[in-house]
């Protein structure tokens, strides 16, 4: 199957190889949560809600000198083509929960909030490839909305390699093609990589190209997220009546 048209260079959905899908972020979608955000990457729609910092529910897990960060990743039954029977608790969900938790924990200034707990709940409403990246971006927005102190904003993007071309931001069809899938998460201003996951085989120099492409994608997402946050802050300022 030709994922990249040899004549025009377009992909199946009409994008160029180094072009991302359209992204959209919205803050404050869940009223009850301390912070929440909706993030869309193309057809992938993800909602994140953050509760915290609040008192630790399970005293046994309490950490004395920093905050406890918990994360739960779930996919709605209707998110994929075939109805999912088990939204949470299966192995993939557990793994992605762990990945998101560790990525956000690296950027939250947990030592400022000892004896407390921060819960991040991420729910996938529509899955079309790149759910992991969309979840991390949504979690960043939600944490910023909750006012939790962070080192830097964490953004994530995926890239792949099909038909001898590095492709940015794979959708579901390209993802299920069986080629390598590199997911990268960076701390935007510090230019440091926190998340790096790859399956399938790639020669090392091609891997470097694909990783660099994914990092560029992450920086573009970071640019957009910064704009969204600035816009939101200006609106808050307006509501306060400056």
């Amino acid at each position: 199957m030709e994922y990249v048209n040899p004549l025009t260079g377009f992909r199946l959905d009409g994008r160029r190889p180094n072009e991302m899908r359209q992204i959209r972020g919205e803050i404050g979608v869940v009223a009850k949560a301390d912070g929440s955000a909706l993030f869309e990457m193309g057809n992938t729609k993800v909602i994140a809600a953050v509760y915290g910092p609040r008192e630790v529910r399970n005293k046994g897990q309490q950490i004395n000198n920093q905050a406890l960060v918990r994360c739960e990743y779930g996919m709605a039954n209707f998110s994929t083509g075939d109805r999912r029977r088990k939204p949470k608790g299966d192995r993939r969900s557990t793994e992605i929960s762990l990945v998101i938790r560790q990525t956000m924990e690296a950027c939250i200034l947990t030592h400022l909030m000892p004896h407390s707990q921060i819960d991040i709940f991420v729910q996938v409403l529509q899955a079309d490839g790149g759910t992991r990246s969309a979840c991390i971006n949504a979690a960043t927005l939600a944490l910023a909305d909750a006012g939790i102190p962070m080192r830097d904003i964490v953004t994530s993007c995926s890239a792949g390699y099909l038909c001898s071309t590095p492709l940015l931001d794979l959708n579901y069809v390209e993802d299920s093609a069986g080629g390598p899938d590199v997911t990268v998460g960076i701390l935007a201003k510090m230019d440091k990589v926190t998340l790096l996951q790859m399956d399938a085989k790639l020669p090392m120099d091609i891997f470097e190209n694909v990783m660099q492409l994914a990092i560029e994608g992450c920086k573009a997402v970071a640019h957009y997220i910064r704009e969204v946050l600035l816009e939101h802050t200006k609106q808050l300022e307006c509501h306060r009546g400056a």
Partner: protein, 377 residues
């Protein structure tokens, strides 16, 4: 049990600071350099049926075998991923599945042949993906390979790269934790490819040795008395040596700290006599003591299942070590027999190139017979 789990991440502040400060000067707590692996020993069980086999139903005349790899962790000394990966690869390489052919009335029935009847077949392995784990310390500046248990408790983050010897990156896994620059990642991948090639060769050597041993075992079966033969000259030497020594030198040996399984107390006392000289000189650097160097004592892995020749190799090794130490000690006694204890210990460092025959002088033998006779009575 819960308390033990709860203590996994809780190291004292002093320990944490110690490890981090040491890493700033490229020192690790077990004496390795930042990019050194620990010693790798691969031991195979008698039957390589560590892999369970289930045959699935026939699909259009083909049979599909499902391979399951069960990994049991016996002792966690840190860096489980790499160890489990090497164990799984070694198991898969030495695995043999029974041969099956089509037969029966209509040629559709699948007949699985007994391993005794037809030689079982190995799995076809295209390449060996080897995992190499890096631990990240100090805001992404310091990376070390193959972290120990204590380093894992202190590290800021970890990254595992899986490569094969062809230079392909099979997988990379870095789930959160301390951030690192992308240039550092590429550098780590380059180091990992060198390490992966090294480990691949070690696995292949171990697998080849095991396969030849297994083939030999199939051809002819030796009784385990072969192992005893090697020990016999050793025993003679030991007796002579003990009779030769003066009183306080014998006591000196017995005071040596014991090491290892403790099979033969006197033999181990002789073994450590050569190393004791080195330990006397204290340089204040990191100790080269690795608590996991011995690993699980082989008596724990049901020793009756260990194949004969492997045990043979181990005995030979022990015999060689004790022979060397006997030589050097005898050299020392010949030079200064009635000297102070300290001097004789230091002079052990100079290994005399004399053979065993030279060490046993005829006139001492008469003395031995006389004293041994008196000892026995």
């Amino acid at each position: 049990m819960e308390q033990r789990l709860a203590n996994i991440g809780r190291m004292t502040v002093n320990e944490k600071k110690f490890i981090e400060t040491a890493l700033l000067s490229d020192l690790r707590i077990d004496g390795r350099r930042p990019f050194d692996y620990r010693k790798l020993t691969i031991k195979f069980g008698r039957h390589s049926r560590a892999v369970d086999m289930e045959s699935l139903c026939v699909v259009a005349g083909k049979s599909v075998w499902a391979i399951r790899v069960d990994l049991h962790i016996l002792d966690n000394g840190g860096n489980l991923i790499d160890a489990a990966n090497i164990a799984a690869l070694a198991a898969l390489l030495t695995f043999r599945r029974p041969e099956c052919t089509l037969g029966g009335e209509n040629g559709q029935e699948v007949i699985v042949h007994d391993p005794e009847v037809r030689e079982p077949l190995p799995l076809i392995v295209h390449h060996l993906p080897v995992a190499v784990t890096f631990a990240i310390f100090g805001e992404g500046n310091i990376m070390v390979i193959d972290p120990t248990y204590k380093e894992e408790a202190v590290m800021g983050g970890r990254m595992t790269a899986t490569l094969n010897s062809n230079g392909d990156v099979c997988a990379v896994q870095k789930a959160g934790g301390e951030g690192i620059m992308s240039s550092v990642i590429m550098q780590c991948l380059r180091i990992a490819s060198v390490k992966a090639a090294d480990i691949t060769s070690k696995i292949k050597n171990a697998v080849d040795a095991y396969n030849t041993e297994r083939a030999l075992r199939k051809v002819k079966r030796h009784p385990p008395s072969v192992a005893l033969e090697v020990c016999v000259p050793d025993v003679i030497m030991e007796e002579n040596q003990v009779d030769e020594l003066s009183r306080h030198e014998v006591q000196n040996l017995k005071d040596e700290p014991e090491r290892g399984c403790g099979n033969d107390g006197s033999r181990i006392g002789v073994e450590t006599s050569t190393t004791r000289g080195k330990n006397n000189v204290f340089i204040g650097g990191p100790s080269s003591w690795d608590p996991y160097s011995k690993g699980i004592s082989s008596c724990f892995i049901s020793s009756q299942d260990l194949p004969g020749p492997l045990k043979l190799a181990k005995e030979q090794e022990e015999a060689k070590i004790s022979q060397n130490s006997i030589e050097s000690h005898l050299g020392a006694t010949n030079t200064g027999s009635s000297g102070p204890v300290g001097a004789s210990v230091v002079s052990q460092q100079a290994n005399s190139p004399k053979s065993l025959k030279d060490a046993v002088k005829p006139k001492h033998r008469k003395k031995n017979k006389a004293s041994s006779a008196s000892d026995m009575s």
